[in-house]
């Protein structure tokens, strides 16, 4: 062990500071946003779009098909069956016309709409109030229009639930896991204290699969790119008159209903 004097110590200290600073600067350059940043690229098999949208063909949708849609969605997303309507969690479900479209019920409606169940889900609004109010960016809009939820960032303030005019969001008032009848291993379960909702099956689109509900709907649900003029949704919207839920609020829902 050699003794170092004050002069040598200062030399070494000075040199290491310079090296440290250089290294530090290099790290800053490396981590700074720019060319080096890893870019997210969808897999070649993924389904992509500029604007995902869904069309519900109410004429073709009956209760049996709807039940299938709901069942498959809730199964592949590990949505618990709480059993208590006050605390239930649902991504897609049925409402009567006057509840799905409040204020739009007329005395003399087409008879086939009487008591007809409407399938409702997150509208993936183009101008989403839930995203506007979230204080942590735990919910956000993707470039393809899907409104996503990050359950690892959500603080459970439920501002998004107050802001959603469609009642599309559910909160985990307790631990949901004991209420998942059959666990689906390919999708994560949630913890208590966070909000969740339909994600247009973003995880399936990434694998090149259509949303689960669309797949089992026998053509009653149409899904596609709203910006592509030859897409299924555009074809359906060209052929039929479709309505949207609460269009006057300016959120611009992207789930259309052919009545």
């Amino acid at each position: 062990m050699t003794d170092i004097n004050r002069r040598e110590f200062l030399k070494i200290a000075g040199a290491s500071t310079v090296i440290g600073l250089l290294g530090g600067w290099k790290a800053v350059e490396l981590l700074a946003p720019g060319e080096l940043e890893a870019k997210y690229l969808p897999k070649p098999e993924a389904l992509t779009a500029k604007r995902w949208a869904m069309v519900v063909d109410v004429k073709r949708m009956d209760e049996a098909i709807a039940e299938k849609c709901i069942e498959v969605c809730h199964y592949i997303h590990n949505v618990p069956d709480i059993g208590d309507p006050k605390r239930e969690i649902k991504w897609i479900w049925l409402e009567r016309f006057e509840h799905a479209f409040p204020g739009q019920l007329q005395e003399h409606m087409a008879e086939r709409l009487n008591g007809k169940p409407f399938i409702v889900l997150c509208n993936h609004c183009d101008n989403p109030p839930c995203v506007r109010v979230c204080p942590t960016k735990a919910t956000w809009k993707r470039d393809d229009g899907i409104i996503m939820m990050d359950q690892h960032r959500c603080i459970g303030c439920r501002f998004c639930m107050a802001a959603c005019p469609f009642g599309s969001r559910s909160f985990n008032w307790g631990d949901p896991r004991p209420f998942i009848k059959k666990r689906y291993p390919e999708y994560p379960t949630r913890e208590k204290g966070v909000v969740e909702k339909c994600n247009f099956c973003a995880e399936r689109l990434a694998k090149g699969l259509l949303p689960g509900c669309v797949e089992v709907s026998d053509g009653a649900l149409v899904f596609g790119d709203l910006t592509a003029s030859d897409s299924e949704v555009r074809k359906a919207l060209r052929r039929h008159f479709a309505i949207k839920r609460k269009p006057y609020l300016g959120t611009n829902p992207q789930v259309y209903y052919i009545v």
Binding site: K86, G156, C157
Partner: protein
């Protein structure tokens, strides 16, 4: 100065112990809530905010009202209020602390609360509410404490504190305006979607806060040697009177727009609150007590004889505090969520654990208030002798 809070008579310690006991009960129940989740409350998918957020909203108003004693003294040189600015500022400190705690106990994931700071989101009103409330808390602690210390040393307050005081004056209404924006900027909730929300918040705040200050001043006079002063109490009483009148008016303005326009999505909420819908009407008696109480308080407090008599004034102030509390602490939040976006009714009522956690948070606020007021009053007594 804090040492003043550590000595006191039996009554003082009795109060402290009682409050600590309430805090203890609330804390234990909160631990339970932390373990099993918010399902121990009465909140639901449809009424997703409840008692906690309602208390938060009410208390932001109490906090903002400190400006009603600070402004006349510093901007209009109304000397009489110099004696009691500290009471307003310390009340604000206790109230904002409760606000923060009510937000915290309402969160599903409280451990992640700092995500609001880690991922600042400028388009979220909640982010701005967090900023204005925290700054307001800091302003009032610093200003209150510094000015009181200067007063104790018979010296003028340091120069640096003056700009802070001037900042705190517009800052006070800002906390309640931003809090109103939490609600009034949301599409699809007809009850909240009104520009009168922020003005109503301010009027009810400037009625309820000064009313509480009147009561606190009367209590201080009764139990200590410090007299906040008759003139001071009378000026506060006038503020309470005119603000509660304005509050009733603002409410009626809203009622006119809603019922003359006949737009169902705005009317249904009022119908639920004041008449009940399809047999659901848990809040009906409360809302009528609140409205009639406010009208009665307005009429009676205008009469000089009733306002000048401190006993009837105290009764009037209690009525103002209770009725504005029902308005914001019960009606405002539930009324906004019922009927829900599907035009269906799910009612809300807090559960026992929820109420006890709420009481625990109130107890934290009153513990802080007792300690801070003990310090302030002891210093005031010391100066007098």
């Amino acid at each position: 100065m804090f040492e003043k809070a550590l000595v006191g008579d039996r009554r003082y310690w009795g109060l402290i112990i009682a409050l600590l006991a309430m805090i203890g009960v609330g804390f234990i129940l909160y631990l339970w809530q932390l373990k099993v989740g918010l399902k121990i409350t009465g909140m639901s998918r449809d009424v997703s905010w409840g008692f906690y957020i309602a208390q938060f909203t009410y208390l932001v108003g109490i906090a903002a009202s400190a400006v009603m004693v600070v402004l006349p003294y510093y901007l209009h040189d109304y000397k009489a209020f110099g004696r009691i600015t500290i009471l307003g500022e310390f009340l604000a400190v206790a109230a904002v602390t409760m606000c923060g705690l009510f937000i915290l106990v309402d969160l599903g994931k409280p451990v992640r609360v700092f995500n609001i700071v880690l991922h600042p989101t400028l388009n979220s009103v909640m982010f701005w509410d967090m900023i204005v409330l925290n700054v307001y808390l800091l302003l009032n602690i610093v200003i209150g404490w510094t000015v009181l210390e200067a007063e104790r040393n018979a010296a003028p307050p340091p120069n640096w504190v003056r700009p802070l005081i001037y900042v705190s004056i517009p800052w006070a209404p800002s906390i309640h305006i931003v809090t109103a924006f939490l609600y009034s900027g949301i599409p699809g909730r007809g009850f909240w979607l009104t520009a009168i929300m922020a003005p109503r918040f301010l009027s009810s705040a400037f009625a309820s806060g000064p009313a509480l200050l009147v009561l606190l001043a009367l209590i201080i006079r009764k139990f200590t040697r410090f007299d906040p002063g008759r003139e001071q109490i009378q000026t506060l009483a006038k503020i309470v009177t005119y603000c509660i009148i304005i509050n009733v008016l603002f409410f009626l303005f809203e009622v006119f727009t809603v019922f003359y326009s006949q737009i169902p999505e705005h009317m249904h909420h009022f119908e639920y609150l004041f008449f009940g819908i399809e047999g659901h009407g848990k809040l009906v008696p409360w809302m009528w007590v609140s409205f009639i109480g406010m009208v009665v308080a307005s009429v009676f407090l205008v009469i000089p004889r009733i306002r000048r008599d401190e006993t009837t004034l105290a009764i009037g102030c209690v009525v103002v505090i209770v009725t504005t509390w029902i308005d914001k602490g019960l009606g405002l939040i539930t009324g906004g969520f019922v009927p829900n976006p599907f035009d269906k009714i799910t009612e809300y009522w807090p559960t026992v654990p929820e109420a006890l956690i709420t009481l625990g948070v109130w107890a934290v606020g009153f513990l802080m208030l007792s300690i801070l007021y003990k310090v302030a009053v002891s210093i005031k007594e010391e100066i007098m002798t």
